[in-house]
Subunit: 424 residues, 2 copies
C-alpha cells in the first residue's frame, strides 16, 4: 500500500487541500483528508509541494513514430505520408517498432501521460514495450485493405485482440484500428465494426482529417464518410474517431447519437495544414471529446498538455468566446473523458475504486508560482518538466523524474543508433 | 573569455556540427570549427550534448503580471481588465512589481528567453530587477491619458528613458509605452511619437487587439487606429505594435511602409477570445514579425517557445498551407527579428561581433530524441525544461538549470507570500 499525503488533490468534483490518497494494489482505496491510519504502508510520499491529479490520457497516437521525428516538417499530409513516412515504415522491423515505442513511452510518462491509445503495426512488439514500461494502453491493430487479403487480415487482428485485450490486470486493452475510409474498403470497415461489436472492443480510426478526403469521397458516394459508414451500421461499435476536422452538421449528429468518441489532435491538424477543427461546434453537439497528440512526427512531441492547451485556445479563439471550455472541463477531457473514449471505464479520476493512475506536479516551479487555481495551472501554465512522479496501475513508474521500469539512457541510445541507420 | 566547444550551433545561415563559440567579455568573438586556441579561457563548456543557439527574444510582455497568474481565467478581455486586473494593479507597490518581475525573469530564463520587451509601471523597480538578474530588456514606460496630466507624464517618462536607455553596457534600452489608442488621446500618441523620434527610442504599444476596439474607433473617426495614427505621423517613430489581430489591408501596408515591428501574441489573443491573428496576411506583406508571450495572467506562462510554436500552427492551419513559415524562419522571428523590432541591433545571432546571448539545449532529452533537424527540434519538439545553460551579455545567468545571479527559491517564496496578501 502507498500513502500520498498532504497534497493538493484534484478529485472528480472538488479540490482537496492537504489531502491524502491511499493506493491498495492497483486501485485507489481512499481520497480525502483527516483520516487516521492503522495500516503499515510500503511507501509514504510527502506531497506537501505537489498537485496530485489523475494522469493524462492520450487518445490518439502512433508511438513508434518517434523514430521519424523532425525528419520532414513543413510539408502537406499526403506528400508527407507517401514520400517520406510510408517508405520508412515499409522497412521497419518489429524490434525497431519496439525501440521507437519504448522511447515514446519514456517521453509520454515524463510529461504526465499515464494512458495511451496507440495505433500502429508490429503490435506484438508494441505490446511488449507497454508491458515492460508499465504504461496503460489500448493497442489498436492497424488495418488497411489490400487486394483480397482483408479476411485474412481481420483474422490476424482478431487473434491479436484475443491474446491481449484485457490483460495485465486490465492495463492493456486491444482494438481494431482500420486506417481510414480512403484506405479501407467500405466492406472491410463494416466487417471490422461487426467483429468489434461481437468482441466488445473499440474501433479506433481516422475520420475526416483533410478537406480532400471529404471532397473525393462525396464525389464517389454523394455523402461524407461518416454518413456512409452510419448507413452500414459502422457506429454501432464503440468508435474512437481521430481528427474530425471537416464535418457537416449531420456528421456531428451521428457521432452524438452513437455515443462515439472524438480524439482531437489540433497540433497535428494545424501543423500539417489540414485545417482547424471546429471545437465550438463539437461542444454545441456535446460530443465525447478526448485529446490526442497524434504521432511525434506530425506534432512533434508527445506532451498531451500542449494539445489540451491548444484545444482550449482554439475553442475560445474560433468562437471569440473566452468562457467556452473552462479549465476544469479541459482537465476532464484530458483524463476521464479520454479514458472512457478508449474503453477504460474506471480510469481518469482520483476516487475510491478507480485505477491508481496518478501524477504529482511540482507546485514550486517558477512557471506555477503563485500556485492559485489548480485547473488553470494545469491547463495554462504547466510544462512537461513540472511532472515529478508518475504512478500507473498502483505502480511507481517515475519518481523524481527518473523512470524506474526501464533504462531511459539505453533506450535513447538505441533509438538514436537506429534512426541513423534508417536515414543513412 | 569563455569557450563553448563541440556543440551543434545554429548560426545565421548554417548549422555547424561539432563547432565552437568563443565569448570575449559581452561579445561573440568566434563561431566556427577547427580552430586552435592559444588563449587561456576563464571557462570551457563542453557542448557535445548540446544545441547552441541564440536566446529567445520576447517582444511583448508585462513581467510583473506573474503575480496575477491563474486568478482569473476564461473571461473576456475587458471584463478581465476592468474587474480583476486593474483593481489589483491599482494597489501594487514598486517593491511588489520588483518581486513579480524577478519571478518572471526566473521563469523566462529557465525557458531560454534572454531578452524581453517589458511594458508596465513602477519601471524603476523593473529596471532594478533587470539589472540584478542579468537579462537583456527594453523597458517600456507605460502611459495612459488622464485629465490634463499628459504633459507631465510625458516628462516623467522622458526622464526615465534618459536615465536608463542604453545603460548596463547596452543591455538595457528604454522606450515609451503608450497603452493603446483607446486609453491615450490622439494628441498624446502624437506627442509621444515625436519625443521618441527625437530621443531615438522605440514606441511600444498595443494596437488592434479586439474587434470592439476597431468598431468603436471607426465609428468615431471613420478609420482604423493605425490609419488615423499614420495621418498624425505616429509611425515615423520606430514602433513595436503588439497584437494586430483585426487589420485591414491598408493597416498592413502602413506597418510595412514604416518598417514597424509586429509583436505576435497568439496565445493571449486566443485565450482571451480576442480572435486569431491573420499571420498568412502578415507574411504576404512581409512584415517584421517578432513574437511575444504577453503577461503571464493572459497566456499563462512566459515560455516564448509556446507562442513560437502556435505562430507556426496558426500560419499553417489558417492558410491550410503547411509549407508556410518553415521552422528556420520561426527561429529567426523568435531571435533576431524580435531583437531588431525592440531596438537591439546586434542581438539574436551567433556571429562574430554580436552580443553573447546564447542558450544550450539538451539534445539528449527524450522529446528531442532522435535529434535530427535542429530548427524542427526547437520549433516543434522542445520544452522549456530542455534549456540547460543561459548566457546573456557574456555572463552565465543559468547553468545546469540553476539560476546564478539571484536566489530563485527566495524569489518564489516572496512572490507566494505577496500574492496571498494581494488576494486576501
Amino acid at each position: 500500500m502507498i500513502l500520498i499525503k498532504n497534497g493538493t488533490i484534484i478529485t472528480e468534483n472538488e479540490i482537496i487541500d492537504k489531502g491524502d490518497v491511499v493506493i491498495d494494489a492497483s486501485l485507489i482505496s481512499y481520497a480525502g483528508k483527516g483520516k487516521q491510519y492503522k495500516e503499515k504502508f510500503d511507501k509514504i510520499i510527502d506531497a506537501s509541494n505537489f498537485l496530485v491529479m489523475p494522469g493524462f490520457v492520450n487518445t490518439h497516437t502512433h508511438l513508434a513514430m518517434t523514430l521519424m521525428r523532425g525528419i520532414s516538417d513543413d510539408v502537406p499530409l499526403q506528400k508527407w505520408l507517401n514520400e517520406i513516412i510510408f517508405p520508412i515504415e515499409a522497412k521497419l522491423t518489429g524490434n525497431e517498432v519496439y525501440i521507437g515505442t519504448l522511447l515514446a513511452i519514456v517521453e509520454s510518462v515524463k510529461s504526465g501521460v499515464t494512458t495511451v491509445a496507440d495505433f500502429y503495426f508490429h503490435m506484438e512488439d508494441v505490446a511488449k514495450a507497454v508491458k515492460e514500461t508499465g504504461i496503460r494502453a489500448n493497442l489498436g491493430f492497424g488495418l488497411a485493405s489490400k487486394f483480397d487479403m482483408d479476411t485474412l487480415k481481420l483474422k490476424i487482428a482478431e487473434k491479436f485482440i484475443e491474446k491481449y485485450n484485457n490483460t495485465e490486470n486490465g492495463r492493456i486493452l486491444a482494438s481494431f484500428a482500420p486506417h481510414a475510409p480512403y484506405t479501407c474498403t467500405l466492406k472491410f470497415m463494416k466487417a471490422i465494426s461487426e467483429r468489434a461489436q461481437k468482441m466488445n472492443v473499440i474501433v479506433h480510426t481516422h475520420l475526416h482529417e483533410t478537406e480532400k478526403e471529404i471532397t473525393d469521397f462525396k464525389r464517389k458516394y454523394g455523402k461524407t464518410p461518416i454518413q456512409k459508414l452510419e448507413e452500414l451500421g459502422f457506429f454501432k461499435a464503440k468508435v474512437n474517431a481521430a481528427h474530425c476536422v471537416y464535418m457537416e452538421d449531420t456528421d456531428y449528429k451521428i457521432l452524438k447519437e452513437n455515443n462515439s468518441g472524438v480524439a482531437l489532435n489540433p497540433q497535428s491538424n494545424l501543423k500539417l495544414g489540414s485545417g482547424i477543427p471546429n471545437i465550438p461546434k463539437m461542444i454545441e453537439y456535446n460530443l465525447n471529446l478526448g485529446i490526442g497528440t497524434d504521432g511525434a512526427s506530425s506534432n512533434n512531441n508527445l506532451a498531451l498538455i500542449e494539445d489540451m492547451r491548444l484545444t482550449s485556445f482554439l475553442a475560445k479563439g474560433v468562437s471569440k468566446n473566452p468562457e467556452l471550455l473552462p479549465a476544469k472541463k479541459l482537465v476532464e477531457m484530458a483524463t476521464m473523458t479520454g479514458a472512457k473514449n478508449i474503453g477504460f471505464e474506471n480510469v481518469g479520476v482520483i476516487k475510491e475504486g478507480y485505477k491508481a493512475d496518478i501524477i504529482l506536479i511540482d507546485k514550486n516551479a517558477p512557471n506555477l508560482t503563485p500556485f492559485t487555481d489548480p485547473y488553470s495551472m494545469v491547463v495554462y501554465s504547466m510544462e512537461p518538466g513540472n511532472v515529478d512522479t508518475v504512478i500507473i496501475d498502483g505502480k511507481i513508474v517515475m519518481e523524481n523524474r527518473e523512470i524506474l521500469t526501464i533504462d531511459e539512457e539505453e533506450v535513447k541510445k538505441e533509438a538514436a543508433k537506429l534512426v541513423k541507420k534508417l536515414l543513412g
